[in-house]
Symmetry: C2
Subunit: 672 residues, 2 copies
Amino acid sequence: MDIADRRKANPDHWRLAAAIRALSMDAVEAANSGHPGMPMGMADVATVLFRNHLKFDASAPNWFDRDRFVLSAGHGSMLIYSLLHLTGYEQMSLEQIKNFRQWGAITAGHPEYGHVEGVETTTGPLGQGIATAVGFAIAEESMRAQYGADLCSHKTWVIAGDGCLMEGISQEAIGLAGHQKLKNLIVLWDNNDITIDGRVSLSDNTDQLKRFEASGWRVLACDGHDAADIDRALTDAASGVDDRPVLVSCKTIIGYGAPKKQDSSGAHGSPLGAEEIAATRAAYGWEHDAFVIPEDILADWRAIGSRGKTARMEWATRVDASANRDEFARRISGEGSEKLAAAIASVKEAAIANKPKVATRKASEMVLEAVNPVLPETLGGSADLTGSNNTKTKDLGIFSPENRTGRYIHYGIREHGMAAAMNGIWLHGGFRPYGGTFMCFTDYARGAMRLSALMGLPVVYVMTHDSIGLGEDGPTHQPVEHLAICRATPNTLTFRPCDVVETAEAWEIALTEQETPSILALSRQNLPTLRETAGENLTAKGAYVLREASAEPKVVLMATGSEVEIAVAAREALEAEGIPTRVVSVPSMELFRDQDVDYRASVLPAGTVRVAIEAAVRQPWEWLLLGERGREEKSGFIGMADFGASAPAPTLYKEFGITAEDTVALARKLLG
Amino acid sequence: MDIADRRKANPDHWRLAAAIRALSMDAVEAANSGHPGMPMGMADVATVLFRNHLKFDASAPNWFDRDRFVLSAGHGSMLIYSLLHLTGYEQMSLEQIKNFRQWGAITAGHPEYGHVEGVETTTGPLGQGIATAVGFAIAEESMRAQYGADLCSHKTWVIAGDGCLMEGISQEAIGLAGHQKLKNLIVLWDNNDITIDGRVSLSDNTDQLKRFEASGWRVLACDGHDAADIDRALTDAASGVDDRPVLVSCKTIIGYGAPKKQDSSGAHGSPLGAEEIAATRAAYGWEHDAFVIPEDILADWRAIGSRGKTARMEWATRVDASANRDEFARRISGEGSEKLAAAIASVKEAAIANKPKVATRKASEMVLEAVNPVLPETLGGSADLTGSNNTKTKDLGIFSPENRTGRYIHYGIREHGMAAAMNGIWLHGGFRPYGGTFMCFTDYARGAMRLSALMGLPVVYVMTHDSIGLGEDGPTHQPVEHLAICRATPNTLTFRPCDVVETAEAWEIALTEQETPSILALSRQNLPTLRETAGENLTAKGAYVLREASAEPKVVLMATGSEVEIAVAAREALEAEGIPTRVVSVPSMELFRDQDVDYRASVLPAGTVRVAIEAAVRQPWEWLLLGERGREEKSGFIGMADFGASAPAPTLYKEFGITAEDTVALARKLLG
């Protein structure tokens, strides 16, 4: 059916969709950059979705029981910006649309969570949206199980493109969703057969329907430009005839209606140009100037935007009537729990009393054993390293299709999918997700971990086996550069605690955070309890004096995690030689950087020899070795300059020169 | 069929496989760490593969036309070590097996490329092996197309576990292999239904056969403990009845024969223990002491190891007789080409003459246009950003099932798969692969990029859009921490050239390298030609004086890439104020670190104000700001402290304070 026939066949629908298309091409043109093709191609699907299916109320964007809409193909950001404007989201003024991709506008090139209500998650890096949506759907199932369908019952709708489906993370997401039978997750595949390099067939011939089916999805298809057919498919998808998540293949034409550029990569990532826009307007029968939406069309869209108001009011009434009202409110607010402090204190005090010698991964488990029973919002998991990450505590139960109240997720061997799902779980609301893998496999999860930081989501990464201290598994499993990677990433708290007390303190901070993800780098090997006081959360200062020198310090030894023990032993040896030596534990460089200059100088005074000890690369330490009130300090580093090796951990520490003896020798040399 | 019946049914096979099993459990026990279950489960499949199918000659491990064997499930390293020892690879002595996982042994916890001949690629991080194998298979097809089946015709066999198939990278690999119809790639899936956390069904229900079929694979299945059935399946897989890659599902039992631990995760990752080993020996009917292989069994294995000798000799005869003998020898040696220098010089000289103002991504294309026609070993590609990465040159042709002589690969939206494939292409021999994506999406490829560095493979990553300079696409696409990430990674050359000349020099180094991967961080935006001389490769020094001060410098401005232009402008302003200012371009920190201390001090003399300018985080700069012959320098940094934003690039530079004016102001302030 050609475009004129489409218009005639369903003029009422056509004009609504045309408004999206016009705004999208106009905004991209005005910005002189952007991606018009995808919004033009998916306008019909999006119109039917918002008009007939999506549960939302534009006047209350944060209504908890709304359906979530995730634009996984984030380059098509003008699709969602158009929808938000047309349906009446207050923040999305026409002015913002006109300022698409400009400094200070909320209409960033790709949809950014936190810039504007209605954007549920940041997308753009392909595949992240669909994988994050799995987290939304998990959270919805879990919350519904905990509070009942009266308070929580909604769907997660995703628009994903070929790029999303080609990225590896999509398979992790699909596999996890299929296994978990997330029936309220519906993915609308913008099946336009075009990627940036050309036709999809240049690089892929995957039968996506068959692939999704193989991972336990229900699959449907529709003509993505036929409103009735779209409506049929979406109705079917939402019907919940069985418990599988649903993929709907929407056959579309990218840049639909642009006579010269449609159905080609030319419509994907650059403005159409004035001439092509004029021709497209003609093809659409859209006779309005740039950015002009006729009153009647806008009114119809605004009516769509308020479609969900009644449902929202009814939900609010149900919440008010609920016995769980207060706790539900606390949960969905994301606020911390007042019960946390006591749980943390109990772990710290027991550690001070009993001086356990345990790995910090075990310490983390001890913390979680205290925390999980009193914080029902935690939702734990591991990427198939449960026994190694020590992430599962006795009370949690396994989250599964058979047990939706379980609070522990077997994410499978899917680090990237896990990290993205954790982002989605937090974004959904109601939970504080944490998940574990080996520190080295932050590599696999980087894409989603960066989004945790960029979006400001306080998810917790439990990263065990954090150095050569893991021993025999060898260099493929031994992180060397990963602390540097985490510390180089903005808005990321990297903790490397040295014992049970610091581990508990790091967890306390992580579970109190509102805007920053935490990475806990934890040892495989046992470590002594070094802290002598349980009171103040000293980890919150980032670095602090763990062992004072016997006199004005001549040497300051800085260390983190498993190397603090080495620093303490080196201090004893240096003190025995009459060299006053201080040990500074540095559980979080970021938090230390946030301290005022006086505190920093009091911890790291000028005029001493400084030696940093960390079984990792030197790069993040330079600023601490440098000193800040002058540069007269002599300093040195005990750590790794290359990849590790396969051998028992004590051998590795000795062979790589990360011992108390090496530290003492370096300090002596620097003293001259 | 129980184990006793298996033994009786095929005693000749059984004893060969039992030798693998015994060595594996003995070595893990002696090391007191490791993974016995997988070698015990896959011993039958591996025995049939090596005995009847794999083309190899243990006396010539590097024979170019051997079949490649990739143990993607690298934790089962004792499987390959056993095979190498039994078949007679000289390096793999029994002593090495006994020293499994010990310092200095070649028998690392996971198979490490370069430690021992016969290990074709480093594995352990799951999914890497199967994705690297796709590169082997691509290289084989390409080499065969270029030199004929007489010189190159072999298969790539992979053993992959459930973990490999659950990782997202596997989908990228599967999709790419299916699309490219890599019929000589055969994956043997160790279908044992166990992961570390328990049964696979805890986290996944994917129908793997259907999934592989959906991506264009032929799928077969066999009983992984029935030698005849395995042989049938492998014969079928190798028959090449059609042009699809082949998956063989081998139904196995992990820890096969260990009475208490088999078929459970208890057999996966820890020693069986003396008692269980004794019981297993009894079940196997294996009456020999630990590490003892009876002469007759060893003799049979050694005969298997020399099975391929005749084929190898015939191949050598064909090579000798080939008209292409010398070039073929050069190609498979991996040596650089003497033609490179002239090609690079031509680009540099033209740039000095014409002073083009182009993006360094365009500069990179200019280099490739000169290099690709004279270096037939280059094999380029992009993860669906061809027009943005400027990676395709006119002469290359597209590598596809229809055109195996094409030298450009449309990798699809598969950054991780591309990086792993590049590793495989280099490891195979005959090629210098390069591939492009956006710098920010190093995140997606990190797992494989780390292996490039760990293995020491001189592949080239063409990473364009390397800063906020990409503008409107916004923070999801703007790398900020990625230069720090690359620079923190051992054995990685990170280049950020400032103009065409430096870009050409970086390429010259990258294409000459033998043991280190290169990352080229290239601008989206146009940059002036700043270099004034074409002679010496100054980039090889890592940093050098680009603009000298008018007198003894009071200020040294350091910068890379697109910010060198800013440094040059700031210098002019400072000089105009009478402040002698030097500009140092720092295209590669790693190479600068390798220079002797005198050179470094000559470039960055003591006693000046130092300002570094880079539109990225400060972390990697600290050591250069510090100075090395004393610490009296005052220094400062002009760069990014947080994520970027969506706006035109010039606005972003201004708003984030990365301009000549900001630099001048900071230098003035530091001068006091």
